[in-house]
Amino acid sequence: MTAANRSVIKPRSLPRPRKINKVPFVELYAGRLQGVVSSKSDIKRVYVSYFEAGSGNFYCSTNNNRPCGGLRGSPCKHLQELLGEALLQYGPERIINYMGLDLDPTKVKRGGDLLRGFKGGPHKVEAGMVFSRFLTYLHYVNLPPTAAAIPEMAWFVR
């Protein structure tokens, strides 16, 4: 029997827990590695950062769409922090596969090692595209728990 004929399949790779103080949100979504990075100077400000698969483009701005000052043709420190945390959460293999990077996973030890895989340049996108995903993410921790029987969950194993 192959995986095609199984109902219950243990996921091959699982996101790992990590400290989320500096980078509260990282995800691989819709062909992007994206997330939210806290500002070091202003507790109320967050930076919204993304890398795009294929083009290798990237961008970083505040959630109010102000471009990040550190973004001068090359990825800023927020984008580098994003890569570091993505590496902790997903591991090199999953990121390299998802983003289609031409890198050897055994040689990727730090976020900076992933940087070499992105050949594009800064490309402006609306911060809302990523920020709304963060709100969706936060929505999940704000929902009430339930004691109802959920038989369907027997399909989901870890």
Binding site: T136, H139, P145, A147, A148, A149, E152, A154
Partner: protein, 461 residues
């Protein structure tokens, strides 16, 4: 008990599996671009269903889809047909298991439907958009999904997950969407878990057919003795299911088996012990009883006709020390296993959801992930083995008994251990889910950080 009888499966189940695999190929290809082989498989299924109550509707659905008449009703019929085949396979397999284990089939309790309230009208609207989305997926085919089809559903899902009456739908749909988004967008040929995604699609369609009926239940009073627990989880939802013997007041000499669940929405970085506080919000006493291995007294708690307790902390009180394995041995003894034990509603039946509680007094572990029981070899349900250290394969040394669930998937029976004793002498109790229940050893406090962010940001929205 003869586990040897579980080394093969009923012929009808194998035949149903083959028919379903052919149907599932159509889900992978996409109903909008069926091949000759797909159409032949559908015609074959149509003949199989001809004499059943679904026969006419199935014929109409296939003809409609062939005419490119893409309406959700046709796809609902496909889902119903697929679910019916799985329901029949479930029943045949449970009958096989009960015969092998020398126990009566589990029986649902006859409980009258209570007064039901009209569900809010938006529920029907959300379920309709879910059916529409599921139809689009089926038309495109699981191998050809694009983010353009996947992303817009998030808005419906957000609405569904905010409605407590749709917790089942939310748990399933968020898990399914998450799996799709992990694979797509895909460069090259995607790896499609054909049966799994067809299963999840089918269940989602069936659950979207109509607003949920209220659960039939009655209040119970008595003592709960936990036998074991299982944890089920995807990135956005976690469920702890506990199995227990219930000694109902006035019926102390005929215990029955019940299930109790605690579930919570979550995000990917919240895992392991961090789930404890989330789940304790709805079932703190249940988790405390599991963590400290204690009995729980309940009074006035609702028990459903399928044997599920609707946990209510205000109706539960922690009691004295419990001995889960001794209790499992007593209540699951061959010939004594009660028919009053958890079972699924007919529409929910599926082989992968069979969880027949078992107690093994003696067994041996082979080098492979298998158990030797009375000369029969039954594999361990390794895919269901959780990534936690509550219960390790090494602790299944055959020195003591174990409590677990008899499972079925991919054409074979397997055993999922939940509670065991490790080591020589009296041994040390190992229960799955205990570390989560205790909520100890959480390495991070992601939950608190995210809740704080949520309170600031979501309020501004």
């Amino acid at each position: 008990m003869s586990f040897a009888d579980l080394q093969s499966i009923p012929e009808a189940v194998a035949a149903a599996d083959e028919a379903l695999a052919a149907l599932d190929d159509a889900f992978v290809t996409g109903f909008g671009r069926l091949s000759g082989a797909n159409l032949e498989a559908l015609a074959g299924l149509q003949r199989s269903f001809a004499a059943t109550p679904l026969g006419a509707a199935f014929t109409e659905a296939i003809a409609g889809i062939a005419r490119s008449e893409f309406v959700d009703r046709h796809f609902l019929v496909l889902a119903a047909a697929r679910a019916a085949l799985h329901g029949a396979a479930h029943d045949a397999l449970v009958a096989q298991a009960c015969a092998a284990l020398g126990r009566p089939a589990p029986a649902r309790e006859a409980i009258d439907a209570g007064a039901s309230q009209e569900p809010p009208p938006q529920i029907a609207i959300w379920l309709e958009s879910t059916r529409q989305w599921l139809m689009e997926l089926a038309l495109a085919g699981f191998a050809n999904l694009e983010v353009d089809i996947l992303l817009p559903f998030q808005a419906t899902l957000d609405a569904i997950s905010g409605e407590p009456r749709l917790a089942r739908q939310a748990a399933l749909l968020s898990g399914l969407l998450g799996e799709f988004l992990e694979v797509f967008p895909c460069r090259g040929t995607p790896e499609v878990p054909r049966q799994r995604w067809s299963d999840l699609w089918t269940r989602a369609m069936v659950l979207s057919a109509a607003p949920p009926e209220p659960i039939r239940s009655r209040p119970v009073k008595g003592e709960l003795r936990l036998l074991g627990a299982d944890v089920r989880e995807h990135d956005n939802f976690a469920t702890l299911v506990a199995y227990a013997a219930l000694y109902e007041a006035g019926h102390e000499d005929t215990p029955r088996l019940v299930r109790a669940s605690a579930s919570a929405f979550k995000v990917d970085v919240i895992q392991g012990a961090e789930l404890g506080p989330l789940l304790a919000d709805v079932a703190g006493t249940l988790l405390a009883g599991l963590a400290a291995t204690k009995k729980i007294a309940i009074d006035g708690m609702s028990l459903s006709d399928g044997g599920d307790l609707l946990w209510d902390d205000s109706k539960a009180k922690l009691g004295g020390a419990a001995d889960p394995l001794a209790e499992a041995a007593a209540v699951l003894d061959a010939g004594k296993t009660p028919a009053a034990r958890p079972t699924l509603a007919p529409a929910d039946r599926h082989p992968a959801l069979i969880e027949e509680p078992i107690y093994l007094a003696s067994y041996a572990r082979a080098d492979k992930p298998e158990l030797e029981i009375d000369g029969a070899t039954i594999p361990l349900a390794v895919d269901r083995w959780p990534t936690s250290d509550d219960l390790s394969v090494a602790s299944l040394d055959g020195e003591h008994g174990l409590f677990g669930l008899l499972r079925f998937d991919a054409g074979q029976w397997s055993i999922q251990p939940l509670t065991a004793l490790k080591g020589r002498g009296k041994g040390k109790l190992q229960m799955l889910g205990q570390a989560i229940a205790a909520g100890k050893g959480a390495r991070t406090s992601s939950l608190a950080t995210l809740k704080e962010r949520a309170s600031k940001l979501l309020r501004q929205k």
